[in-house]
Structures are given as structure tokens and as C-alpha cells.
Symmetry: C2
Subunit: 268 residues, 2 copies
């Protein structure tokens, strides 16, 4: 028996999140089914991060035990042959048999992408929140800075959560912008094809949030709050008040799942 760890990437659009649900297909269910078929054993993966319905991932992690003789590093290539194109195992490796990734300290990094433009883009629709109101990114950065460090994030936790302990540590929040001429990222330059109505310059705003742990919907509520600051609805300093209030009703709305990607889980 050996324990294998997989790095799993997926487009979450067509899944009810990671964790097995009675209500619809999940990433965990597809992995269990296809790994069991490939290895001829009853495989149950144990995931590190239970991403929500519609949320994407590039670097989620899971482990499972197997008797297979397939070399650990080759399992990713073998399993990708039978997975649907919206789930791809990026790598596979053997880990010690007592290794339990959920009990391991880690830093998770999420990215939320906003497509700030006059008109939405059909080829960005799956992975971005389209937002047409002008955003003051400097104000959003100032607001985000209030959230870095150890805080009680009760105001930024879904009211559907039953978590009692709501203190978490965010190690970093960065907000990067870059001009794009739709579908064609040009890295801050002017659009390549001037005068084209179809390629109006727009901005991609990437909010990256890293921390040692996250509450239910926490990143999406942070983004919903930063958007209210960006539009000028709230001043940046108001975010500290929201934190102190420990009242979910004070924070902004939960931003849609489509813009959120779990980029990485770094095991410490």
C-alpha cells in the first residue's frame, strides 16, 4: 500500500464543487470513479480544499492509498487519459503513508479575476466577473491592506457556516491590473489593433489572497467588499470597521464563484 498525492486543476463551471454532494456531480466523485476504474481498486481521494460550486482550481491537492504498481509519477499521465477535459491532474507523487495534507500547515493562494470593461467578453465569461462600473484600484489596495495579518474574520464568513472559531491569518493580498484588448493580453501596452471596435481596451484586475486558512465564502466576501470600495460606495478605512463589527451584514456581497480560482496550496 502506498499513498499518492495529486495536484488537480479543474474548470469548476460544470461541477457542484469539490466535495461529493447528493445534488450534483463533483470533482471528487469524478476522480474517485476514474481512479477506481484505472487502478482496479475502490479509490477514495481525500482533498485538501473543498472548493465551492463553480469555483476553479489550478493547484488543489488530494491523496489516496493504492496497491498499484504504476510508478507514482506516471499516474497523472494515465488518469488524464480518462478524465474529462475540464479536470486535469497536473502531477502525482508518492508521500509518506501517514501524510495527511489537511493536518499539514499550508498557505493557500486564491485569485479572483475581474474583467473591467464596457461590454462583457464571451471568451472570458467562464473565468471572470464582468464589471462595468469604474473601479479605483488604489482605494481597493488600501482597503485590502487592512485585512492582512491575523484577524477575526467573522464579518467575512458566510452566515451559513457553523464555524465557531473565526480567527484566520491572511499573509498577503495583492491587486494587479493590466490592460487587455479583449482576448489578447498586451501587458499594459496600447491595443495591438487600434481603431477596432471589437477590441476596445479593457482591464483585467487580479486580486490574489494568500493565507493559512479560510472561512466559508471568505475570499468571495472580501472581493465583494473591495468592489464596494472600488466604486466609491465605501471609503477604504471602512473595511477595518467591518472587521471589528464581527457582523456579516456589514460586509459586501459574496462575489460570484466564476471569478475565483484556487491557485495553489503550499505545504509548509
Amino acid at each position: 500500500m502506498k499513498r499518492i498525492m495529486l495536484t488537480v486543476a479543474y474548470d469548476g463551471t460544470n461541477y457542484c464543487g469539490w466535495q461529493i454532494q447528493p445534488t450534483g456531480l463533483t470533482v471528487e466523485e469524478v476522480l474517485n470513479r476514474e481512479l477506481s476504474r484505472l487502478l482496479g481498486e475502490d479509490i477514495r481521494v481525500l482533498g485538501v480544499s473543498r472548493t465551492d460550486s463553480g469555483v476553479h482550481a489550478l493547484g488543489n491537492l488530494c491523496v489516496f492509498d493504492t496497491e498499484t504498481s504504476i510508478p507514482a509519477e506516471k499516474i497523472c499521465y494515465a488518469i488524464n487519459q480518462s478524465l474529462p477535459p475540464d479536470i486535469v491532474v497536473q502531477s502525482s507523487c508518492e508521500v509518506p503513508s501517514d501524510f495527511h495534507p489537511r493536518k499539514h500547515d499550508s498557505i493557500k493562494t486564491y485569485e479572483y479575476v475581474i474583467y473591467a470593461a464596457r461590454i462583457p467578453s464571451p471568451i472570458r465569461d467562464r473565468y471572470c466577473l464582468f464589471f462595468y462600473q469604474p473601479l479605483d484600484v488604489e482605494k481597493m489596495r488600501r482597503a485590502a491592506a487592512c485585512l492582512i495579518g491575523e484577524h477575526d474574520f467573522k464579518s467575512f464568513c458566510s452566515s451559513h457556516s457553523d464555524k465557531e472559531y473565526t480567527v484566520r491569518t491572511l499573509t498577503d493580498i495583492t491587486i494587479e491590473t493590466r490592460r487587455v484588448s479583449d482576448g489578447n493580453a498586451l501587458d499594459g501596452e496600447a491595443p495591438a489593433i487600434p481603431g477596432s471596435a471589437g477590441l476596445a481596451p479593457a482591464e483585467e484586475i487580479r486580486i490574489r489572497v494568500s493565507g493559512t486558512g479560510f472561512l466559508y465564502n471568505m475570499v468571495r466576501i472580501i472581493v465583494g467588499t473591495l468592489l464596494r470600495v472600488g466604486t466609491g460606495f465605501w471609503p477604504p478605512e471602512y473595511v477595518s470597521e467591518i472587521l471589528e463589527s464581527k457582523d456579516r451584514g456589514k460586509a459586501g456581497p459574496c462575489a460570484p464563484a466564476r471569478g475565483l480560482t484556487l491557485l495553489e496550496i503550499k505545504l509548509l
Copy 2:
């Protein structure tokens, strides 16, 4: 009666191309249906470029005639309310009533995107060709240079085409590469999150082809041919031989539709 021109963007994944077909849903059909419903008239759009099944567009153009009192510039906002998210009208404007975009001289620009990596990416799957063999981009550029200018492109035209006259002019072909750490374009820098197995650095190769006219499947056969050069299967100079042969059988395969986007039609 006035004539309106639309700039139309779409994710072609779920459509049998632009032009109305008995075999499946097309972009033209959806536009006709939704414009007719919005304007209360029987609207028939006339498209400039009949993109193939699965091909995307950011700047296709079409015109139609209408009696509507909605200001021309507002039509795009109105129609986007009822279009599915994978078709978006980027702009609308009035043009002279005798304006016929297909009879107008134009330069069309297509882009073909290759995701060159060890393992495919679930979030790039819809818009890229995944290619795991190493590619020599310098050789591809030398091969592409042979194609610029006025040539008989018979070798690069689908054998299913009935076009007699196969001389066309390519005004430019450029091939740009950029390192990406999956989903997170970093513009040639090292990956932001080093040591992450899920974010292995990879390359995005963008082949842009501009010309005054294109034959059926021409860009995709050019790409299929350049890939054969990039892998070292053919030397760059062989592309001139392919041109001279006027034999479709000599050129490379037709690259998959998913990687191709009609970026722009510039009316001259």
C-alpha cells in the same frame, strides 16, 4: 429604413460556425432570432466572415436593415440583454444604406493559440491547442515568412472547397511566445509561485495571420504546417515547396478549430 453594422464576439465552442446550417445551431441563427424578437421585425443579418464550426471571434462584422427607432449605438446594449453569454455584440453603428461589408476591401486578422506544456490545462482547453512536443519557434517564424505576400495558396485550401481562384495576399504573420504559469500570464517572468507543481511554467504561442482574403481552412492548414516545421519534421524552406506544388496533400494537417479566433476585420 436604416442599415446597422454590428461587431460580434463569440465563443464558438457550442456553435456550428457562423452561417445558418440545417445540422446545428449557428451564430447567425441566434442573432436573427434575438434581433427579430427585440426589434419586432424579420431581421436577417449579413455576416462578413463565415467562421467554421468551433472557431471563435472577437470582431466579426455583420449588417442588417431595420425600421427601429432605437439609436444605432444603443442596439448593442439592448441585444446583449437577450443573447446567450457566449455571443456578445461589442458595438453597433449606422452605416450608409448601400454599404455592403463583403464587397468592401478589408484586412482580416486571425489568431491561433497553442498551449505548449507538459500537461493540458482545463481552463485553456476551449481556446487553445494543447501541444506537448517541443517547438522551435524561430524555425516556425522563418517558415511563416515564406507565406507573406501574394501567392497561390491552393496547397493551403481544404480539398472540400470549390474555389477556382486560390491566389490570396497575406499582409503579415507574427508568432509571439510568452511564458505562463498556468492561468496566470506573467509576461516572460518566472512563475509567481515557485515550487508549485500545479503551476508548471508553460508557453503560450500566438500565431497571428493577417490578409485581404482567406480560403477555406487556410489559417488552420498554415498552422498545421508550421507545427510540422516547429517539431523539426520539415525544414522551414519546405514551406516554399508546398506553396509551389499547389497540392493540398503536401501541406500539414488542418489544426483544430478550438485554437482559432477571428480577431478583427479592418475595413479599408
